[in-house]
């Protein structure tokens, strides 16, 4: 039985309070100092100690393998806030036992935006990984593990060998997630499924004192893995599980330090890199027409596009995106892309399910989803005005005083329901 450990590192560029009355002023959208301070805080509790543990283990333990997905905006902030983290990551990459996952640079829902946004954001990320680590990724994971048939086709068309998706029961219909699958619409693309039960034992339940299995030790957990059926158990977790969601006092960092060797002590268990896992025999084909994610209990896009605030904000984002592209200003485009980061929509989640709502609030920098929406819309309104101004500069008014004809502002997919973008 092979074991894959994949950890995800991401921090959004959070918006500063941008009042309606700030529209038209030159006030910056992002408070860089605040974002970097927050980054350092989380780093102190999580990134630095946990990456330290993993780096040492990768160097000392030849049989350990690790996969990381680093969002581009995380890399940007790490470079400015804590460049030592990049040294650690480079050292990990040099062991040859670290796989890097591809994703959208801005950790966005670009797969719902008009093409070629998805491809460009994935390319930006590839470029960033190449420049930082001189490494190519062969496996794609999209924001919150989004997966659909359209996205599988896209991944295959971009030359990826595999994608990671959520091993969700209702999808698998009795099949185990502990096998390697292929996409039924793009049979050459492998699909590695997250074992959410085992992943959540660490991610959600590790420090729950009312859990019957509390406390969870690395030995016990490795035993559970070894008793699982199938050929591969994929554990995919938010990196902040280690030190942030579960603080160091819970013993989570010790758990992380002990897990690699505890797994190796179990007979029949071995760590596998993504590439090694993808070489397993394919045990079946999977199809999922709609988008499946790893988020919340409904495993859909409800966390980002589940209410009218989110839908309205996303529609506005699309429209402004079209205008920004027409304006052809690179700075405006990069600013707009930072707004595509999915966290901005996540902050507008209204809840409905108490447990999920708790998780959402924990990550929000706003006082409420309404605050998040108003602020985001103010920024979009300002950006639209700036794009419009840039466009007007590029299309000066003819002498007669009438405005020059401008390309239509309606995005190509206006009115179409949300769907993955086929290449």
């Amino acid at each position: 039985m092979k074991v894959v450990l994949g950890l995800h590192l991401h921090q959004p560029w959070r918006l500063a309070r941008f009042r309606y009355l700030d529209i038209g002023s030159d006030r910056p959208y992002f408070d860089e100092d605040h974002n970097l301070a927050l980054f350092r805080e989380i780093s102190q509790r999580s990134y630095r100690p946990a990456l330290g543990i993993l780096e040492r283990t990768l160097r000392d333990e030849a049989e350990f393998r690790l996969a990381l997905s680093l969002s581009g905006v995380w890399l940007e902030q790490a470079r400015r806030a804590e460049p030592e983290l990049l040294n650690l990551l480079e050292s990990m990459a040099r062991t040859g036992r670290l796989s890097l996952l591809a994703e959208t640079f801005h950790h966005s829902l670009a797969f719902l935006l008009p093409p070629p946004e998805l491809q460009e954001q994935v390319d930006l990320h590839r470029k960033a990984l190449w420049e930082t680590f001189s490494r190519e990724s062969t496996v794609l994971r999209l924001t919150e593990l989004a997966y659909s048939d359209d996205l599988a086709r896209f991944a295959a068309s971009q030359g990826f060998l595999g994608m990671v998706a959520e091993g969700w029961d209702t999808w698998l219909k009795g099949r185990s997630p502990n096998h390697l699958f292929a996409s039924s619409v793009a049979p050459e693309l492998r699909v590695l499924l997250r074992n959410y039960r085992l992943s959540d034992d660490i991610g959600f339940r590790f420090s729950a004192r009312d859990w019957s299995e509390y406390p969870l030790t690395a030995e016990k957990f490795s035993r559970w893995i070894s008793r699982s059926d199938g050929e591969v158990v994929s554990l995919f977790l938010d990196f902040e599980t280690f030190g942030e969601h579960h603080r160091a006092e819970t013993g989570i960092l010790d758990f992380l330090g002990e897990l690699p060797r505890a797994v190796l002590r179990e007979t029949g268990l071995e760590w596998a890199s993504l590439e090694e896992a993808l070489r397993l025999p394919v045990r079946g084909h999977l199809s999922h027409p709609k988008v499946l994610t790893w988020a919340d209990r409904s495993r859909d896009l409800g966390a980002w596009l589940g209410n009218d605030l989110q839908i309205s904000a996303f529609e506005a984002l699309k429209k402004v995106g079209t205008l920004v592209r027409l304006a052809g200003d690179r700075d405006l485009l990069e600013t707009w892309r930072r707004l595509t980061t999915s966290d901005h929509l996540y902050y507008m989640y209204l809840g409905g399910d108490r447990q999920d709502a708790e998780v959402h609030r924990h990550f929000s920098s706003y006082s409420s989803p309404f605050d998040a929406y108003a602020n985001f819309m103010n920024v979009l309104t300002d950006l639209r005005q700036r794009a419009q101004a840039a466009l007007d500069r590029g299309h000066p008014k003819p002498r007669g005083g009438k405005r020059a004809a401008r390309p239509s502002m309606t995005p190509p997919d206006a009115g179409r329901p949300f769907r993955g973008t086929a290449p």
Binding site: R19, Y20, L21, L309, F370
Partner: protein, 378 residues
């Protein structure tokens, strides 16, 4: 229960509070004698009987007004002393378990009565004299307030903010205070599409503490951005002439309407048809009008120093001095219709969650606690 006003007579929210609270406590099986200086007839409440002092042999009676501000200092002192002496001399204890007094009016008599009857004494504070007077307290009122705060077994504050103020400015120990929020009765659900598009409402007394000036200054910032916006100031009070002049000075004569005093019916119409509600008070121990707005599904902006901000998530809370932020929040609600609709719906749903029945149960728990501290049960 020792109070002051009671419906149908009232000058503020205290009477309504006592009415709703006694009604729900009655439903929970408690029997209540409601004590007020005035004669009825009051709205009947099951399980509640009313008692008031006999008419004095001499002098004017009953008092001409429930509004103490309209009495001469001498009339006021006579009224208060007569009321408190009468309370202190009530026959009993009979089967009374506890005395519950609201605000400062009957604290002196209640305190004496509680000592004589050897039963616990709980005081609800709705607002403080220091706040109401913006730090220029009426000495007599302040003293009566202090008697209640010192001699009561437990104190109920209508918000955490007020509880904090009682600790900081009145020296009440934290362990003596419990927080029980206000509630309002559910109002009819009004479809969002029936609301006016761009009407901003202030509803309340026009006093310095209410900070209506910030409402007007924010209106002056919003007006040019939202050409269709209208601003309504509903209520009267000592600040009225100054505010009217200010509106004129800010060039808002065409945009602001001063309604003066509004009836309950008009109040309901305003809450049902406005698009945004603003309560910018410097200090607002609770802010019942804002809770009424939330219940009617009206998106609401309050100052951070309002107690109601503690019970509502679907609300914008702003520093009371931050005119730009009040203006921005108002513009956002006026110009983003999705925000207005979704926030209004969420506000209503949230505000309906805890009504008077829940608040009465919380109050009864405070009674039980006060009794338990003396080794008794209800």
């Amino acid at each position: 229960m020792v109070g002051w006003e009671f419906p149908p007579f009232h000058s503020g929210g205290l009477g309504v509070h006592c009415y709703e609270l006694t009604r729900e406590l009655g439903r929970l099986g408690h029997r209540i004698t409601f004590v007020t200086p005035f004669e009825g007839p009051f709205h009947p409440v099951e399980g509640v009987q009313f008692r008031s002092p006999p008419r004095p042999r001499r002098g004017r009676s009953p008092p001409a007004s429930y509004d103490l501000g309209r009495l001469t200092p001498r009339e006021r002192r006579n009224l208060l002393e007569r009321y408190n002496d009468w309370i202190a001399g009530l026959e009993g204890p009979g089967d009374y378990d506890l005395i519950h007094v609201h605000d400062w009016f009957g604290t002196v008599g209640s305190s004496r009565l509680a000592r004589r009857w050897r039963i616990p004494f709980v005081m609800t504070v709705h607002s403080t004299e220091l706040d109401r007077s913006l730090d220029h307290p009426d000495r007599e009122i302040w003293e009566r307030e202090m008697v209640g705060l010192r001699s009561s077994d437990l104190i109920i504050a209508v918000s955490r903010h007020l509880a904090q103020e009682l600790q900081d400015r009145y020296g009440v120990p934290e362990e003596k205070i419990r927080v029980v929020y206000n509630a309002v009765r559910p109002s009819a659900r009004v479809r969002h599409s029936l609301r006016a598009e761009q009407t901003v409402l202030y509803l309340g007394r026009l006093t310095l503490m209410k900070n209506v000036e910030t409402f007007l200054r924010a209106a002056a910032r919003v007006a040019p951005l939202v050409p269709g916006a209208r601003f309504i100031v509903a209520g009267d009070g000592p600040e009225y002439p100054r505010l009217r002049d200010l509106a004129q000075h800010l060039g808002l004569s065409e945009r602001v309407v001063f309604l003066g005093h509004v009836s309950d019916e008009e109040r309901a119409v305003l809450l049902a048809t406005a698009s945004v509600f603003v309560l910018p008070s410097v200090v607002e121990p609770f802010g019942i009008a804002a809770l009424e707005a939330l219940v009617s599904g009206l998106p609401t902006i309050v100052s951070k120093t309002s107690g109601v901000a503690e019970v509502a998530n679907a609300i914008f809370a702003v520093d009371f001095w931050d005119t730009e932020e009040f203006a921005s929040r108002t513009a956002e609600l006026l110009l983003y219709p999705t925000l207005r609709r979704v926030m209004g719906e969420a506000a209503r749903e949230e505000a309906l969650r805890d009504g008077w029945p829940e608040r009465a149960r919380e109050t009864a728990r405070v009674y039980a606690e006060a009794l338990a501290a003396r080794g008794r049960t209800l």
